[in-house]
């Protein structure tokens, strides 16, 4: 139960309950505006009936020819609104737009290798690991999780334009690339 509506520039004044969470990054204003100025249809928020924002997704469309795809740049849900299926509904929104509006071949996203909960959720939604990107998250340094803390999985899910599932592969976890090789 929540309102799904477009992400607006003025939502930046209201997303504190989401962004004060340790895993959610607050970027410069230009970050959000540059997405809204180009892919407003790939950004949406979920709002509780009584006002507060619950979560949001920010995405973009990129790549050329068969690599053209929707990309999930940020997906986040405020702690008090977790376990309600919000992430799932925002992902399906982004997949729908990537498929229907942009005609992308797949949707992809990056997730910390250590974030088992998130990886499990994405797998449940039909995503699989395409490759492992070394030192994608540099800022935290090596924590107790070792390399899993700073490496990312690039996870993908094919859309209807890729009926033969050419954009995914079964052994993605073993395909290791460095952060320089990905955009």
């Amino acid at each position: 139960m929540s309102i799904i509506r477009p992400f607006r520039a003025t939502d930046l004044f209201a997303f504190n309950n989401i962004n004060l969470d340790v895993w959610t990054e607050t970027y410069g204003i230009s970050f959000y505006l540059s997405y809204l100025a180009r892919w407003p249809d790939l950004c949406c928020v979920q709002q509780a009936p009584n006002g507060p924002l619950m979560g949001y997704v920010i995405g973009k469309a990129e790549g050329t020819s068969t690599e053209f795809h929707g990309h999930v740049t940020a997906l986040t849900v405020a702690p008090e609104f977790r376990r309600l299926g919000l992430a799932r509904s925002m992902m399906s929104f982004l997949e729908r737009v990537s498929n229907d509006v942009y005609g992308g071949f797949f949707v992809d996203l990056y997730v910390r290798c250590r974030n088992g909960v998130a990886i499990g959720m994405y797998e449940g939604l039909g995503y699989s690991v395409y490759r492992r990107v070394r030192e994608y998250y540099g800022s935290l340094g090596l924590g107790p999780g070792g390399k899993d803390d700073e490496d990312a999985f690039d996870m993908r899910k094919p859309l209807s334009r890729d009926p033969f599932r050419r954009s995914v592969r079964p052994n993605g976890r073993d395909m290791i690339v460095s952060a320089h090789d990905v955009s």
Partner: protein, 960 residues
């Protein structure tokens, strides 16, 4: 010269600029300029490097040279664009591109850039005309849409008169109808078209478009268009159709967007709400039947979804709530039944309490049933689900706590009980990594709010200490809980311990735009805690840091020619994105970007912080004409702004019972929240004082400023001259002041009224001021001031005026009594052992009054002014007031220092620990742990009391 050779030589300059090596860029430019002294590109690049190194004056010279030559080549124009943006000369940018386009009218890129330059300045009218020109010349349809967007933006601009608005929308409509086609599939073009139809109430036209295949297809994939469609339907009152559509989506597409449920609900009650007259029996009957039908629908949804989605059950609650409002509810027990059902199904979700809150306002039988239901529920923390349920029950019971049950005697055991529950529940999260939130956090927050409520009930600050001890413990267990940090910040400030509050604020890692919405947690009334006078600039720099976000996003007019405190680049970031949105035809975003920019540029918090910073600054800096002139210009700009309040107060949950003051209210210092009125009063105080102290009158200021001026204010008094507006007093503004601030305001007004005639008489004439400014600028930069003709004046600056000086009047008695009044306020607070924030507030206001006196009398420190104008008696009367003020402040200083010393003793720590004894008692919150917290609190209090006391002593010496 060959173009290629020059190109090769210029490359390093670009590289230097890119890497921020402005110095080497300037050197490289100088070298090449010797070879090619006429190159506009080199000049503009040098101007850019200069302006980036804050050498505004030199840059201006080059800049004007290049502009005069009317450049047309791309690279020069681009470089100049950056220079002009840095200088805030957006209008010059428009002229530059216009000239270039006139010279090369076939150059589409130049035409587009001219359009963008107008967009950057918000010059919608010219931009619209220019777009029409572009369409004629180059034929592209998008130029028509650009023109439409500009017409709408001009209509929405607050400076456009209402009758003009309508015309502009009609123009937009004419343009849109000419270009709209049935094959158009760009959602943003549709959005733009619809927004015009909506504004002009052409609902049927909108409906024709939306009901077509084209419209349906676009709405199905664009949330923005669908949102607009929904609003149009609602406005026109097509509730039934919309409800039917929504029902289909809910049933057939499993759409669970809450907006669909609201549409069904609106339709259900439309027979009662659609007309203004009282509904008749048949309408009532229709509604009752419809409600029964929808109830079955929602019940089915709820059953099907089970625990997967809350919409069905919540919609049933909303249905019942509205049925009761309209008096068509058929079952008096249904509300509580539904609440119970909701709690049983979703009680283990954290959101459940907030979900139910709108339905809890009840009484009589309902309330008794609901309370007894809640009382009968077991509390357990054996699993995460049980714990969450238990937490929700605590919150729910507390919400409906009756006044008879809300007493100190009953609340104390409740707090201790919550503490116990919290400690037991901690075991559930003991294996979680530090980055995770503890599932029991909310119990700690509840307990803290109970303690704060107790403080509010009893005025006993021991309860606040309890809250601190407990929350600090919880914060250690759950270091990432921002809510715990925020609670601690509010409570520490209430206890007069600003240092730990600041530490917790820093742990929040507030960044970027969050500074605007969150800095009030720490900077609200920060000058009361600032130790700037004694040399500790922590708060002053916190103000500056939190304000960076505005500087990097705004255009500022700089006092260029006499600038002493160079500002960072003032690039209007948002304007760039508006341009981008035009370029990519994302029209739906443009009004939002403008609204965003407006809210950020004219943020109330921005200027509250600015005001606090000025108040801190004057306690530690020498008051001289530079400071006076700079602040005066800035405050006058601020005074013209129409402010927006972006402060995020909703972030803090409120767990106090219905009807009691909220947690935010209870933790607001002195129970007064500075807002628009407070800001207005302080701006008036300071603008008046600084205006009197300054030699710079309006004509001088106009000549010394560079860059564009802000758009004129459209406030209610915009036709009243500023000088009169600063004297207007409004009751609603006064209501935001503490009693001490009000006294101060009266003092400041009396002071200004008294001295105004003497200032006006002795202020040197504009010609003298300008001559002096030119001299200073030339000394500094080697260039005379640009565009300034100083009239020849034979006087020496103190030329005697034709008329005699006004008669010296005795100082108003209120000036002296102000200080004695503040003295007795201070003593009374001291004796009643009041919390230190109020004590500091009184001391701070008294100190401010002394400094204000000094600002107002600075001009008369100059002995020659006194002599020439025969104002000796006036100077004598300041001395008396000052001496009395210094005496009183000296005593306050001593008292504060003594109080601070008392705080830092082992006795005070012991007393603290003793008071919190009931929190100790097991292995978790030990005696030593409480002692640590006691030390933290008492040390912080000692620091601020002593520091403030010493600061006052220093201010007294400086201003004696």
């Amino acid at each position: 010269m060959s173009a290629a050779a020059l190109d090769r030589q210029i490359r390093p300059i670009y590289d230097a600029l890119d890497t921020g090596s402005n110095k080497s860029a300037i050197l490289a430019c100088n070298k090449l300029l010797k070879k090619y002294p006429k190159s506009d590109l080199l000049k503009s690049l040098k101007a850019l490097a200069l302006v980036r190194s804050q050498k505004v004056e030199e840059s201006l010279v080059l800049c004007d040279e290049v502009l005069a030559s009317k450049p047309t080549d791309d690279s020069t124009l681009t470089a100049m664009m950056h220079v002009l943006r840095h200088l805030g000369r957006h209008s010059d940018m428009v002229v530059m591109f216009e000239d270039a386009f006139k010279r090369q009218p076939g150059n589409e890129e130049l035409g587009v850039q001219t359009f963008f330059a107008n967009v950057r300045t918000g010059n919608w009218k010219t931009a619209q005309l220019h777009a029409t020109k572009l369409k004629k010349q180059f034929g592209d349809d998008r130029y028509v849409y650009w023109g439409i967007m500009c017409a709408i933006l001009q209509a929405n601009d607050h400076i456009t008169p209402p009758n003009m608005c309508d015309l502009l929308y009609k123009l937009a409509h004419r343009l849109a109808s000419s270009v709209w086609s049935a094959t158009e599939f760009n959602p943003d073009r549709l959005h733009l078209y619809l927004s015009i139809l909506r504004k002009l109430h052409l609902y049927d036209d909108a409906r024709t478009v939306l009901d077509s295949e084209q419209g349906k297809s676009i709405c199905s994939r664009s949330l923005a268009c669908d949102e607009l469609r929904r609003e149009i339907w609602k406005e026109k009152g097509w509730l039934k159709e919309e409800g039917k559509l929504a029902e289909e989506r809910i049933v057939h597409k499993q759409d669970r967007n809450w907006l669909e449920f609201l549409s069904v609900l609106d339709a259900t009650f439309s027979s009662l709400t659609s007309s203004n007259e009282a509904p008749d029996a048949s309408a009532r009957e229709e509604c009752t039947q419809e409600a029964a039908r929808v109830r079955i629908l929602f019940t089915k949804v709820a059953e099907e979804d089970g625990r997967k989605d809350r919409s069905g059950l919540l919609a049933l609650l909303e249905l019942e709530k509205r049925a009761r409002i309209h008096d068509v509810s058929s079952d008096p027990s249904r509300l509580v039944d539904l609440l119970q059902q909701y709690h049983e199904t979703f009680g283990d979700k954290a959101a459940s309490y907030e979900d139910l809150k709108p339905y809890l306002d009840m009484d009589g039988e309902d309330l008794t049933r609901w309370i007894s239901y809640l009382d009968g529920l077991p509390h357990s923390s054996s699993s995460l689900a049980d714990l969450q349920r238990s937490i929700n029950v605590y919150k729910l019971s507390r919400y409906n706590l009756q006044p008879s049950q809300y007493t100190v005697e009953l609340e104390v055991p409740r707090a201790l009980h919550l503490k116990q529950e919290y400690l037991e529940a901690l075991s559930l999260g003991k294996d979680l990594p530090k980055t995770e939130l503890q599932p029991a956090d909310d119990l700690a927050i509840l307990a803290a709010q109970v303690y704060v409520g107790l403080y509010s009930l009893s005025g006993d600050k021991d309860h606040l200490q309890h809250a601190i001890v407990f929350l600090e413990y919880a914060s250690k267990k759950s270091p990432q809980s921002y809510l715990i940090h925020l609670h601690l910040i509010r409570i520490y400030r209430l206890l007069g311990a600003p240092q730990p509050a600041l530490e917790h604020y820093r742990l929040l890692n507030v960044k970027q735009v969050q500074n605007d919405t969150l800095s009030h947690y720490i900077l609200n009334r920060a000058s009361d805690f600032s130790l700037a006078a004694s040399g500790d600039l922590t708060y002053a720099s916190e103000c500056l840091e939190s304000s960076q976000i505005y500087l990097s996003n705004t255009q500022e007019v700089k006092k260029g020619n006499t600038q002493t405190n160079p500002r960072r680049a003032n690039v209007r970031q948002t304007a760039d994105f508006i341009v981008r949105a035009f370029n990519g035809e994302k029209y739906s975003q443009i009004p939002d970007f403008i609204a965003f920019e407006d809210r950020l540029d004219n943020s109330l918090e921005r200027d509250l912080v600015k005001m606090e910073h000025v108040r801190m600054r004057i306690t530690h800096e020498t008051i001289n004409s530079d400071l006076i002139d700079m602040e005066l210009i800035e405050l006058k700009f601020i005074f013209e702004r129409m402010h927006h309040d972006n402060r995020d107060f909703a972030l803090l949950p409120n767990y106090q019972p219905l009807g009691q003051p909220s947690f935010v209210t209870q933790t607001t210092l002195m129970r007064k929240q500075p807002g628009f009125g407070w800001l207005s009063v302080f701006l008036k105080i300071y603008i008046r004082a600084l205006q009197q102290a300054s030699d710079m009158d309006n004509t001088v200021e106009e000549k010394l400023l560079i860059g564009d001026r802000p758009k004129p204010s459209t406030g209610p008094d915009n036709n009243v001259p500023l000088n009169d507006r600063v004297s207007i007093r409004r009751p609603e503004e006064l209501a935001e002041l503490t009693s001490d601030e009000l006294t101060f305001y009266n003092y400041a007004t009396d002071l200004a009224d008294w001295l105004a005639p003497y200032h006006d008489h002795t202020r040197p004439p504009p010609s003298v001021v300008l001559a002096e400014a030119t001299k200073q600028a030339e000394l500094k930069t080697g260039h005379p001031l640009k565009g300034l003709e100083v009239p020849v004046d034979s006087g020496n600056g103190h030329a005697k005026k034709a008329e005699d000086a006004p008669l010296v009047k005795e100082a108003p008695a209120s000036l002296v009594t102000f200080f004695t009044h503040m003295q007795s306020r201070f003593k009374a607070l001291l004796e009643s052992n009041s919390p230190s924030p109020e004590l500091l507030h009184v001391a701070s206001i008294t100190q401010e009054a002394l400094i204000l006196l000094n600002i107002e009398t600075l001009r008369f420190k100059n002995q020659s002014v006194i002599k020439v104008h025969k104002l000796g008696p006036l100077a004598q009367s300041f001395k008396a007031i000052r001496a009395s003020a210094v005496g009183i402040l000296g005593e306050m200083s001593k008292d504060l220092i003594a109080l601070g010393e008392g705080e830092g003793t082992s006795e005070s720590r012991k007393a603290f620990v003793e008071q919190c004894k009931d929190l100790q008692g097991d292995s978790n919150i030990t005696h030593d742990y409480v002692l640590d917290v006691a030390k933290k609190v008492t040390d912080a209090r000692k620091k601020v009391l002593e520091g403030f006391g010493k600061g006052i002593a220093r201010v007294c010496t400086n201003h004696a």
